[in-house]
Symmetry: C2
Subunit: 144 residues, 2 copies
DNA sequence: TCTTGAAGCTCTAGTAACTAGAGCAATTAT
DNA sequence: ATAATTGCTCTAGTTACTAGAGCTTCAAGA
């Protein structure tokens, strides 16, 4: 049994984030001490490590929640689990393609600063662009 | 002079977004009709086109705001403008590197679904990973 | 000129995944 | 016993929008 502070150190997740995960139902509510403080066990460590790792790989909390549920109930429903992972993989791939286009465009902009500002000019006039670059697919994880 | 609806069509930005840009001070407040409706001119079109293009390239609204200000005041302060663009470029580059690592890891996970679920296993145990993948740098644009 | 339907207005709240702070209570160490 | 640390809840802020309620204004036709 450990406090939220100890848990936070163990798993390297901020205290506030742990409480947030509990609030949204991602992790199970822990026991409480007589004085109403949270008391955790090994199971919580496992759960949080799983969540942390998945977040680092860019899974959304929603996806993580699904994965956890599946793990807990039907160990063998490999199909759905794989589907979530594959979907995410595709998402990552799409994003890479897009970012490389952006990179190209930005490099072109930045390189040519001789007399007049090419950055401003490029931004003012889309026709100066060589590639298509629309952030249409994107929505992204924000982590630290 | 055109209404917000006409402007929205011209620049292909949603009405609500235009009002939002005004609210946060990204674009100038337009004149109003006698009945208090917004009336725009060519200058607003230019401003919004600029903003849209920059957003598509992944610049934050804050960066766009800075760029616009610089364009309006000191046409020749190419250094700062270039700095913002370069910074963004670096951000994009960093992200690409990271996403490629994630791609590797996810592909490894997904591929090996023979009997037991490798996805869950991998997520449960970080040591099974071959590359480092931490979304430490990330914070991302969300656009459409 | 009157009416009606489309378009516009403001204000509030919701999205994802947290983070920060106020103001108070419990725990731990001395 | 007391002080320092840690924990508690609740609220609000972050980014870049989007959606909806409830109301007003505009433009066009009868």
């Amino acid at each position: 049994m450990f406090s939220i502070g100890e848990l936070a150190k163990q798993v390297e997740i901020k205290i506030t984030t742990i409480r947030y995960y509990e609030q949204i139902g991602l992790i199970k509510e822990p026991m409480r001490s007589l004085g109403n403080q949270r008391r955790y066990n090994e199971a919580h460590i496992k759960q949080l490590r799983f969540a942390k790792h998945a977040r680092e790989l860019g899974f959304t909390l929603e996806a993580i929640s699904s994965l956890m549920e599946m793990e807990a109930t039907a160990k063998n429903d490999c199909g759905k689990i794989d589907q979530i992972a594959k979907q995410h993989l595709q998402h990552v791939k799409d994003k890479i393609v897009l970012l490389i286009k952006l990179q190209t465009e930005l490099e072109r902009m930045v390189s040519g600063c001789d007399n007049k500002c090419y950055v401003i000019e490029s931004l003012s006039d889309h026709h100066l662009c060589t590639t298509e670059h629309k952030l249409t697919v994107l929505e992204d994880s924000k982590a630290r």
